[in-house]
Amino acid sequence: MTDEELMRAVCNGDQSAYQAIVRQHLKSISHYAYRMLGNKKDTEDICQETFLKLWVNAAKWQPEKAKLSTWLHTIARNLCVDYLRRHARTLTLANLESETEAKLQHQVDLVERDTAHDQSTQLEQAILALPENQRSALMLCHFSGFSNKEAAAIMNVSVKALESAIARAKRTLRKTLSKI
C-alpha cells in the first residue's frame, strides 16, 4: 500500500494502517529524536507523541505538498524543539530534579555503550552541544537522508539558511575531532 492509501485508511480509523506506518517510519523518527535529545526516555516519549499526532491529524496531511516522511519529521522536529524549550525553561526555574534525572539517564545510556567508542562519545556530546538548528540540519541531511530542500522544508527555513547551519555544525565538529 502507498503512503496515501495508508493515510486514507488511518483517516477512516484503520489501526492496522497506523501500525504499518509505524513499522515503516519509527526507526528514522527514533534515530532523529535520539540525536536531538540524547537520551532514550525522551526519545520514546517524542516517538509516541509523534505517531499520536499522526493519528489525530491524519486528515491534515497533504500528499501533494510533502512526503509522509517529511511531514512526520516536521512533527517530530517541532516536538523536539518544544521539549528543548521546556527543558531550558525548567532549568532557569532551577528545577534541578528533572535535570539530574535526565543527566543520569544520559550517563546510563553512555555507560551502556562500549567504552572503546570514546571518540564517538565525545563526538555525540559535541553534537548535543550544537545549537538546535545546526543539530537538526545535520541530522536530517546526514542521518535521515533528506535532501537540503526537504530538510529546509522540515525546519521551515530557506535552503541557504539550512546550508549555512550545516556548514557551521560541520566546522564545529571538525574542530572537536581535531582535538580528540
Binding site: 486514507r8 485508511a9 477512516n12 480509523g13 489501526q15 497506523y18 501500525q19 509505524v22 513499522r23 519509527l26 527514533s30 534515530h31 535520539y34 532514550k40 526519545t43 520514546e44 516517538c47 509516541q48 505517531f51 499520536l52 493519528w55 489525530v56 545510556d109 555503550r113 562500549d114 567508542h117 571518540q119 564517538s120 563526538l123 555525540e124 546526514h142 542521518f143 537540503n148 546550508e163 550545516i166 556548514a167 560541520k170 565538529l173 571538525r174 575531532l177 581535531s178
Partner: protein, 150 residues
Amino acid sequence: MMNFDKFEKLLNVHGADSRSWPSELRRSCTELLDSSRQVRALLASHQLLEKRLNQLPVPELASLEATVMHQPLPARSLSPMDRLLDWLAPTEGFTLRLWRPTIAACLPLVFGIVLGNYYSFGVMVEPSELEFWEDELAMLSLDDYSENNF
C-alpha cells in the same frame, strides 16, 4: 573557477564523497585538490567527520515499536456532514464498487437530458399548438354526451 571557499561550500552542501559532487564541478575540484595541500587537508577532515558520524552507535529501542503501535489511540468520531459525504461519495468499501457503475450508467442519461434541453434536433413545437390543446380540452368538457347511444 574553483577555489578554497567554493570547495568548502561544496563539501558542506554535497558531502565529502566525490561521487555526490555535481559532475560539472568534479574536474575543477580534482584539479584544485592536485594543486593544493590545504584543500586536501580540508577534504580529509570532512571525510574523517563523515566516517565518525557514520560510526556513531544507533540506540537500541527494542520495545519502542510495540509501545508506539499499541498506545491507546483516541476514537474517531465523524461529524454528520462527514458521514453524509462518505455516503454520497465513498472512497472505499463495498459501496464504492456499486457506486462507480451506477455513476457510469447515469452519465448518458444526464448527458441526454442536458443535450435535449439545449437542442431541438429538428423537432419544432409551435406555441400555438399548445393553446389549441387548451381550447380542445375546454370544448370536450362542454360536450353533451346525453345523445350518445351506447
